[in-house]
Structures are given as C-alpha cells and as structure tokens.
C-alpha cells in the first residue's frame, strides 16, 4: 500500500544503516517511546542493523501496560455487574488483574465485548437503552480525540446509559519522569509519531532544552525508525539537543487543532498512577465537570483496595528502559502470552510480547 511499502524497502533501510554506522563514534542509548515502534524494531530486526555503539531501549508507550492494576480490578468488578455491557479494545482483555482478567470475567458470564472504536460503544448504548454500556477508555494522546468524541456525542444525544472508565496517560510527563530518575541512561528519545499527529511537538521543546536531550518525532515503519535514529545520532555526535520531526508526512508542529479542542472540552489534566512506574503528577486525563456524570467509577462505586503486583514481574524496569524483556528470569518460561505475569507480555504494544512473538528469546 502506498505510503507503507516504500517505508519497508530493504535497500533504503540498508543505506540508512550505513549512514548510522558512519555517524556513531561513541556509545549512545536511544529510547523509542511508543510500543508500536518497539514492535517494528523487534519484528524487522532493526537492532541487528545497528552498530554496537547504538543501544535501543524500549519506553513506556504502551497504554495497556501502564494501566494500574487496581483499575483493571475495577474494570472486572464493573463488567461483572448484572445489566452492564463492558466494551474495550481487544488487547486489554488478557491483562491480568489481581484476581482475574476481563477475559476470565467474560468466561464467567460477564458481558464483555471487544469494539474497534469508542463510537461503537456509543452505538451499543443507543441500541440498548435498558443496559448500562461502559467503555474502557485506555490510551495516550492518540486515542484521546476518539474517546473525547464518544463522550461528547453521548452528552449531545442525551445517551445517559453510556459511561467511560478513564485511564488516559500523557507522553511528555512520562519522558520527564524517566529523565529525572537518578538511574536514567537514555541519551535521546524517539517521540511517538501518532501522539504528535494529535498534539504537535511544541510541548517537547522545553523538555529537550531543560534536560539537554535530543527528541526526534518518528514514524512507525522500518525506514522511519532508522531515519529517526540517524537524526538523533547526528544531534548527539554534534552536541545538539533539539526537537526534530522525522515524521513530517503526518506531524505538524501545531498538531491537529480540532482534535485538541475536543480533548480540552471533555478532559482536563490530572495526576495518574502508571503501572510499574508509580504516580506522575499531571500525567493523565480525567473528565471535566460538565462530563463527569459519564465517569464509570462515579456511577459504579467499586471497592479499590491496595493490591500487590506479582513479585516476579519486571514490567516496571522494562517500561523505564532499565531492563530488556529477555533479562527477566520469568520471560518465556513462567510468563508467556497465554499465561502472562504482566501486561507487557499481552499487549499488542508491549515490549515483552514483541520479543516473545518475534523470537528474540530463542537467540
């Protein structure tokens, strides 16, 4: 398909890999933020094309992975209530809660449905006025315009049997949390292209300046990622720390204004707990006042106790780029996509799932 195939061209990839080898003279660690980029890197074997100077570490950009355990427990509790139709994107279903996953709740009789778009959940609510339809609004800035539109549409049409369980997270505060940690080893970031399609990249400029770190807005195909890595290396080798845009066919500095307006109308910024990382101030979105009646947590009070993570799962270290998936003793042994210990093994954007699927653990 046009705009995809040419960005998977092996010859273009080899040329860029050569340029990378010529550019890198010292050891550098680059973090790709988005789990979609992690999957391209592992699937295409891009790490094998890179010289030993360049280390890629995988970032926290997997919304399913960073959704806190107690919120998954709340989702399971709400989904298990009689009369509720609980809607979610597919990869949330297998994520283990403290006692069970949404998938197991479904097997136990809960009406859990996979939808393609949050608007499908609104359609279900419209068609089932006697049922409560709850949508699990998980995601980064890329998904926020869709979820904001769903809530806005329900409000406009007066569909009061619709609500959302919000677990929205923001990328820039997570980058700052990683950079501010004493054990940070990241020299440059590849920012998530589609997050920036929505938000633009002006908000990354103060981060690049404050931490003297290059940030390159990068796409998702192999040629995109190699070009992004090359751009980051050119900055690192010449001592620059700027925000650059590799993904210019999809990202403008100002982002998508109509989408931003709808997000701001429905959501406001608030603190959020990231699974494996902890609470980060001003790192999430929550419903703004006129829309709070659509908050599923307010509509369906569920007991939210302190819950313990699996002691064996290293997801937190993987999400902060401190460990690679195959460095976890449980990886591919006691933790597999069929029987996961942590979310990164099941999400389509999870780093552990990428290494497992594309066989990096067999090398």
């Amino acid at each position: 398909m046009k705009f995809i195939d040419e960005y998977r061209d092996p010859l273009a990839a080899r040329k860029l890999a050569q340029a990378i080898r010529r550019t890198a003279t010292r050891p550098w660690t680059i973090m790709e933020v988005c789990g979609g980029q992690t999957h391209t890197i592992v699937k295409s074997g891009l790490q094998d094309l890179l010289p030993p100077e360049v280390t890629l570490v995988h970032g926290p950009g997997c919304p399913v992975c960073v959704t806190p355990l107690d919120l998954i427990d709340s989702a399971v509790a709400i989904a298990s209530r009689p009369g509720v139709i609980f809607c979610s994107f597919g990869d949330m279903l297998r994520v283990p809660g403290s006692s069970k996953s949404l998938f197991e709740a479904k097997a136990g009789g809960a009406d859990v449905r996979i939808v393609y778009s949050p608007l499908d959940a609104v359609t279900l609510a419209r068609a089932n006025p006697g049922r409560q339809v709850v949508f699990f609004a998980v995601g980064f800035e890329t998904t926020a315009p869709a979820n904001a539109m769903a809530v806005w549409q329900a409000a406009r049409e007066g569909i009061e049997n619709f609500s959302v369980l919000v677990a929205h997270v923001l990328v820039p505060p997570a980058i700052e949390a990683i950079l501010g940690a004493p054990d940070c080893r990241v020299h440059a970031f590849l920012a998530a292209g589609h997050v920036c399609t929505v938000m633009g990249f002006a908000e990354y400029e103060p981060v690049a300046r404050r931490y003297r770190v290059p940030i390159v807005v990068t796409g998702f195909e192999p040629v995109d990622l190699l070009e992004g890595i090359h751009m980051a290396l050119l900055q690192l080798e010449s001592g620059r720390a700027e925000v650059e845009n590799q993904y210019s066919r999809a990202v403008r500095r100002e982002g998508n204004r109509p989408a931003q307006q709808r997000i701001v109308e429905v959501f406001e910024v608030g603190p959020r707990t990231w699974r494996g990382i902890g609470e980060i101030p001003a790192s999430g979105l929550r419903l703004r006042e006129p829309y709070r009646r659509f908050d599923a947590l307010a509509r369906f009070p569920v007991a939210q106790g302190q819950v313990e993570e699996s002691g064996e799962c290293l997801a937190g270290l993987v999400l902060r780029g401190l460990k690679k998936p195959q460095e976890c003793p449980a990886f591919a042994v006691r933790c597999t996509p069929e029987r996961p210990l942590g979310a990164p093994m099941v999400s389509s954007e999870g780093a552990c799932a990428a290494y497992y699927l594309y066989g990096r653990h067999r090398q």
């Binding site: 398909m1 273009a12 539109m149 109509p258």
Partner: protein, 83 residues
C-alpha cells in the same frame, strides 16, 4: 459528524472525518480507532527518498575521490580498519 469510506488495502470501513475537515476524495489519511487524525502530506512523504538518493550520489562521489587519492600501496590490509 462528517464520515467517509476509507480503504485499508482492500478492507473498507466507515471512518469519522470530524478531525480532518480538509480531507477530500482520494486523500490518504492516518486512522486510529475509527477516526482520521491526519491527511498524509505527499510532498513531505517523498523527502526521505530524495535525501537517500542524495546520500547515494554523495557516497559514489566520495568513493571515486578515495580511489584516486589513495595509492594502492597505502590501502589497509584485509581485516584492517572499518569504514
């Protein structure tokens, strides 16, 4: 809400165009969970391949210069320094 039919390499889907008011028939859009987020900028899309062509031409030019500049006697032995 403005909607349009988007073809994903053969699979067609009804997609919300509320965030891409500029999208017109025949445009390529980036779609996420049922919403078009952006019309692909065709001019920007070609830039990387132009840059790669230039890179290739530059390399050829450099290789040519190197051949002339380095006498055979001073070439690195096999297994010597990498480029």
């Amino acid at each position: 809400m403005r909607r349009g039919k988007v073809d994903f390499a053969g699979v067609q889907k009804e997609i919300c165009l509320a965030y891409t008011p500029e999208a017109k028939l025949g445009d390529y859009v980036i779609v996420h969970v049922g919403f078009a987020l952006n019309v692909v900028d065709e001019i920007e899309a070609h830039k990387i391949f132009e840059a790669l062509r230039e890179l290739g031409e530059l390399e050829e030019a450099q290789d040519g210069t190197d051949d002339r500049a380095v006498p055979p006697a001073s070439l690195d032995p096999p297994g010597g320094t990498d480029d």
